[in-house]
C-alpha cells in the first residue's frame, strides 16, 4: 500500500488527477450553464434576473474556481496532446509545471477582473 502511494506521488500522477476531476466537474456544471443561458428564450429580463446572482461574493468565488478548473483542464489537455503527438523529450515535469502556472495565471486574471 505504501509502495503504491509512493509510486503515484509524482507530478504526472497529480496532473492526471487534476485533469480527470476538472473534466468531471466541468461536465456536471455545463447543463446548469446551458440552462441559464437558455433563459434568454424568455426575454432579456429573465436572463438578467439570473445574472444578478453573479454579483454575490460567494458566486464570484465559485466562478473563479470554475475558471481555474477550465484553465487547468485546457492546459493539462494541451500537455497531454504534446506528450502524445510530439517527439519524446525529458520534459514531463516542466510541462506539468507550465500547465499549472498558466492555469493559475488565467484564474488570477479572472479574479482581478471580476472583483
Amino acid at each position: 500500500m505504501r509502495a503504491d502511494w509512493h509510486a503515484r506521488n509524482h507530478p504526472a500522477y497529480w496532473a492526471f488527477v487534476v485533469h480527470r476531476l476538472s473534466g468531471l466537474l466541468l461536465t456536471l456544471f455545463l447543463p446548469a450553464h446551458f440552462l441559464m443561458l437558455g433563459q434568454a428564450l424568455h426575454g432579456e429580463a429573465q436572463l438578467d434576473g439570473l445574472l444578478r446572482w453573479t454579483d454575490a461574493p460567494l458566486v464570484k468565488t465559485a466562478e473563479t474556481v470554475l475558471i481555474l478548473l477550465l484553465a487547468a483542464h485546457l492546459t493539462g489537455g494541451v500537455r497531454l496532446l504534446m506528450l502524445e503527438f510530439l517527439a519524446w523529450r525529458n520534459w514531463q515535469k516542466a510541462l506539468a509545471a507550465i500547465a499549472a502556472g498558466a492555469a493559475i495565471a488565467v484564474g488570477l486574471g479572472f479574479a482581478l477582473n471580476v472583483a
Binding site: G38, D48, L70, L74, G77, L81, F110
Partner: protein, 112 residues
C-alpha cells in the same frame, strides 16, 4: 469493444480536444474581458444576437464538448465505476444528448 471502435473513440477524443483547445482559449479571453464592470444580459446579447460567426463558434464549441465529455465520462465510468456493456452505452449517450440538446438550445437562445 473492438480495437477499431476503441481507435475511433481515441481519435474522437483527441480531435475534439484540439477543437476545444482553440474554443476554450477564445472563451476564456471573452469571459475575462466581459466580466469587467459586471455581467449583464444586454451586454451578452449585444454581442451574440444575430451574429452568425458567434453562433457558429458556439455551436462548434457545443458539438466538440458533447463528444469530448461523453468519451471522457465513458473512461471514468469504465475505470472507476466498472460499468460495462449496455449500462455504459446508455450513460455515454445520455451525457452526449444532454450536452448537445441543452447546449444548442443555449446557442439558439442567445442568437435568436
Amino acid at each position: 469493444m473492438t480495437a477499431a471502435a476503441q481507435t475511433r473513440l481515441w481519435l474522437a477524443q483527441r480531435a475534439s480536444a484540439a477543437v476545444l483547445a482553440f474554443c476554450v482559449v477564445v472563451h476564456l479571453a471573452v469571459i475575462i474581458y466581459a466580466v469587467r464592470g459586471g455581467l449583464s444580459a444586454a451586454e451578452i446579447l449585444a454581442r451574440t444576437q444575430g451574429s452568425l460567426p458567434w453562433a457558429g463558434f458556439y455551436a462548434l464549441f457545443v458539438v466538440a464538448v458533447a463528444v469530448h465529455a461523453s468519451v471522457g465520462v465513458r473512461a471514468v465510468a469504465l475505470e472507476w465505476l466498472h460499468l460495462r456493456g449496455r449500462a455504459l452505452g446508455v450513460l455515454v449517450a445520455l451525457v452526449a444528448a444532454v450536452l448537445l440538446g441543452l447546449g444548442l438550445r443555449a446557442v439558439w437562445a442567445v442568437y435568436a
